[in-house]
């Protein structure tokens, strides 16, 4: 048999090779980076009680004046528990305030988790009904938004933050945004 006789039959294997390359690339491309339609838009309006002190009400104006992170989490969410130590370590670097949205959570469970693992948050909004998370386009926890000095959403990370995501993606963006004028 000549090599030419084999040619058409090698094609399927080549197609497979191409697809596998594509998927591998997709896997390492950070598959969780989906552009949110909210990027470039102001943070949605809301008013929520603070987690520790429900009589205190917080709203979207907390984002005004400084670059901040907005992290959506819940004690019920296994990935958030994985993420928690990363967030605590990042908070110690005091680069920027981290606001938390306690999403659809049991109040006591949330407090217990913070007591046990440490509290990385500057302030925490208690979104027991999950309505605010819906306005923010959250479809799973954890999700993290980067908000600039004018309260405009600039980036969104779906899934748990990792040291790599923080150092390679968020920190450069944070520094750039912090350099921007108000």
């Amino acid at each position: 048999m000549k090599i030419r006789d084999y040619t058409p039959f090698i094609l399927p294997a080549l197609v497979l090779l191409f697809l596998i390359g594509l998927f591998a690339r997709g896997l390492f491309l950070d598959p969780t980076k989906v552009k949110s339609p909210l990027i470039g838009k102001p943070a949605p309006k809301f008013t929520l009680p603070e987690l520790y002190d429900p009589s205190k009400k917080l709203d979207q104006n907390v984002f005004q004046g400084q670059v901040s992170l907005f992290n959506v989490w819940g004690a019920w969410c296994a990935a958030c528990q994985d993420e928690h130590p990363v967030l605590v370590a990042f908070a110690k670097r005091k680069l920027l305030p981290i606001y938390g949205l306690d999403y659809h959570d049991d109040h006591q469970a949330a407090l217990a988790m913070l007591q046990k693992g440490g509290d990385p948050y500057t302030q925490i909004f208690d979104d027991a009904s999950g309505d605010v998370a819906i306005d923010w386009g959250v479809y799973g926890a954890p999700e993290t938004f980067l908000v600039d000095k004018r309260g405009i959403i600039r980036d969104k990370v779906i899934g748990p933050l990792t040291p790599e995501i923080i150092d390679d993606r968020l920190v450069p963006e944070i520094r750039q945004l912090q350099a921007e004028a108000r």
Partner: protein
């Protein structure tokens, strides 16, 4: 203790799968009868241990053992017990265990029914299945162990995802997986045949009932999934071209092509290469489906699990299994003898066209599904491809396909007789044209041309499917001898199913009515001749949820039709809310009500829909499934066992 036993059973199953693979593949290669005789017991034990592991996990769910993390994450004491069992496959780890368990059942079936096969061939088939089981057991044990303990144990479980607490969704995954995994049998047969160099009619005849069985389960699984999304997701849609749906649809399309191509290989010895390739492709797409759903590569509303480690593992597994099979194919296929020749107008040609259309359809679905990834991988930005793309590429491919469905069965093998085919199909053609024109004249809807095309093709395919049974009964009535094998009857039933499906799709999408309205108690909405009078909303309590239930009196021309009660359910344990649409079903039309959001002063937003013939879509699916069942249970597959155990037909007509 029990979960540890399950974990141990899984490890033992892994070892036995390795033995099954080794003795099967290497034993057959060496022609060592003693080695090959180990394969069946190893396979049986392997399957038994996997099923045992499954049973222990089910036991942990039934006893609400929240010291098992997976149970704590997916069950709840309040969960009704049937859902405690179905919660076993409610998330990633358990659905993998289900996958392997289903593979275990298929392995048992193959090891049982393959006794009349030549020993080498059976050993190879079971060996390949052992390799697949090995891969998946390893996958589970390394990345997705369902038996991991949670210490200290949770007091209460987090509950099963509420949208999965539903009868159809409970049995959807097992049906779908039975189909997916069933293609592994066709795959194993193809690989064994390529290895042994015996790609003949016997191989095709053996593969056929297995492939048909896998296909009918997949058909049923997809139908169930579509029905579920219709009434549970609350939008009244029945197909969303969602990546996860596509993941099950691609193997179905290729599997359908395979079922037809196997017919040619069995009857005429032709298309061998092509059939082997389709068998490999159908299973590869099943694996790809698993990968797409589980890796998070494509984000979809359905993907509950996503973890890069898992994605890499499955991708590696696809690379090894499919890569090896395709390399083997590239090496062996060119040396295979070609089958009998055929004229341009013959059943072979039409089946080849059928295959081309199905594969092109599967390819375009694959392209659409992967397109966002493709764009992203080449740095061209992120975007997604929606229903407009799929409708635009899929419908044009399916139109000629449905013309062929009507003709194919009435063209002879090798060289057809156009005259006699025309005579046979005259009536069907006239009926189809009449129905098409009638639908165009009677209905002044927008999209009437699409409706006409759909009705025409559906009547054409449906009438075509009736000719053969009609002829049979006429012969019998005239007291003459007539034959209608289950195989033929199965084909006619499945083609009828395809016709019903097309009719349902075209009528419901063109003539369906959908309105979003705001109603206050006492208001009446008029949609498609029906009056929906809103009585108000009150609270209802379910076993593990609380609901707000709306009440609507429905009447038509003053006659009461039904009372419809759409709900919004809140599941306290997870804090999730689901929309339970109220559906007033009918064979010829559904009325569909879904509650939106509460507005001021007791007003609610409500979606009201009138869906004519939507049931035909799932009825079509059920007909196709039934057709598959009839064809798979044809007598010749049962008879062959006795015949071939005496004379193993290994002669390859070169």
């Amino acid at each position: 203790m029990i979960p540890e036993l399950g974990h141990l059973a899984l490890i033992l199953a892994l070892c036995l799968a390795a033995a099954q693979a080794w003795f099967g593949m290497v034993g057959a290669q060496r022609g060592d009868a003693a080695w090959m005789s180990v394969v069946r017991p190893a396979a049986t034990l392997q399957a038994a241990f996997v099923l045992f592991a499954f049973a222990t996990l089910a036991y942990s769910f039934l006893t609400s053992d929240f010291s098992v993390r997976y149970v704590a994450e997916n069950s709840n004491v309040l969960l009704p017990w049937p859902y405690k069992i179905t919660a076993v496959w409610g998330a990633h780890e358990g659905s993998l265990l289900l996958w392997v368990s289903v593979l275990g059942l298929w392995t048992l079936a193959v090891s049982w029914f393959s006794r009349p096969l030549p020993q080498e061939f059976a050993a190879r088939v079971l060996g390949v299945m052992g390799l697949i089981s090995l891969g998946f057991c390893l996958f589970m044990l390394t990345t997705s162990d369902p038996f991991v303990r949670l210490l200290p144990a949770a007091e209460q479980g987090r509950d099963l995802n509420p949208i999965l607490q539903d009868p159809a969704m409970a049995i959807h995954p097992p049906m779908l997986y039975t189909g997916y995994v069933g293609f592994s049998v066709a795959f194993a047969f193809a690989v064994a045949a390529l290895l042994g160099g015996r790609m003949d009619a016997v191989w095709a005849r053996w593969s056929r009932p297995w492939t048909l069985t896998a296909w009918l389960f997949l058909t049923f699984g997809i139908t169930l999934g579509s029905w579920w999304s219709y009434y549970e997701l609350g939008w009244g849609g029945w197909w969303f071209w969602d990546p996860v749906e596509n993941a099950s649809f691609m193997p179905w399309l290729v599997g359908t092509a395979l079922v037809h191509s196997l017919a040619v290989t069995e009857k005429r010895g032709a298309f061998k290469n092509w059939t082997a390739l389709l068998a490999i492709a159908a299973f590869s797409l099943s694996l790809l489906g698993t990968f797409l759903v589980r890796s998070g590569v494509l984000i979809s509303v359905h993907s509950f699990a996503s973890d890069p480690k898992r994605g890499i593992f499955i991708l590696g597994m696809i690379g090894v299994f499919v890569g090896a099979a395709l390399t083997l194919y590239a090496w062996r296929a060119p040396t295979l003898a070609r089958g009998g020749g055929f004229q341009p107008f013959s059943r072979e040609t039409l089946l080849l066209l059928n295959n081309i259309f199905l594969v092109v359809a599967a390819g375009s679905v694959l392209l659409g599904t992967l397109y966002p990834l493709l764009m992203d991988a080449f740095g061209l930005g992120q975007l997604s491809v929606g229903p407009p793309y799929f409708d635009a590429v899929f419908i044009p491919v399916m139109m000629p396909f449905f013309i062929i469905i009507g003709i194919g069965p009435y063209v002879r093998w090798k060289h057809g007789d156009a005259q006699s085919t025309l005579r046979t199909l005259r009536v069907a053609g006239i009926l189809a044209l009449l129905a098409g024109v009638l639908s165009l004249v009677m209905m002044h809807a927008t999209g009437a041309v699409g409706l006409m095309a759909g009705v025409l093709l559906a009547v054409w395919a449906g009438a075509g499917a009736l000719i053969e049974p009609f002829r049979y009964f006429r012969r019998r009535a005239e007291g003459r001898h007539g034959v209608l094998s289950r195989s033929t009857l199965g084909m006619c039933t499945a083609h009828m199913g395809a016709a019903l499906l097309v009719l349902g799709i075209s009528v419901t999408s063109v003539l369906g009515v959908e309105q979003d309205v705001v109603v206050k108690p006492g208001d009446t909405v008029h949609v498609a001749g029906y009056d929906f009078s809103f009585q108000g909303v009150h609270d209802e309590q379910g076993p593990n949820y609380s609901a707000r239930q709306g009440v609507f009196q429905v009447s038509k021309g003053g006659d009461a039709v039904a009372v419809m009660r759409p709900e919004k359910r809140e599941f306290a344990s997870v804090g999730n809310e689901t929309t339970e649409a109220a559906i007033e079903p009918g064979l010829f039309r559904d009325l569909y009500l879904a509650l939106g959001n509460p507005l001021d002063d007791g007003a609610w937003s409500v979606r009201v829909q009138y869906k004519p013939l939507i049931r035909f879509i799932w009825l079509g699916g059920l007909f196709m499934m039934l057709g598959g069942f009839l064809a798979a249970s044809d007598r010749r597959y049962r008879r062959q066992r006795a015949a071939e155990s005496v004379v193993p037909a290994t002669v390859e007509h070169a």
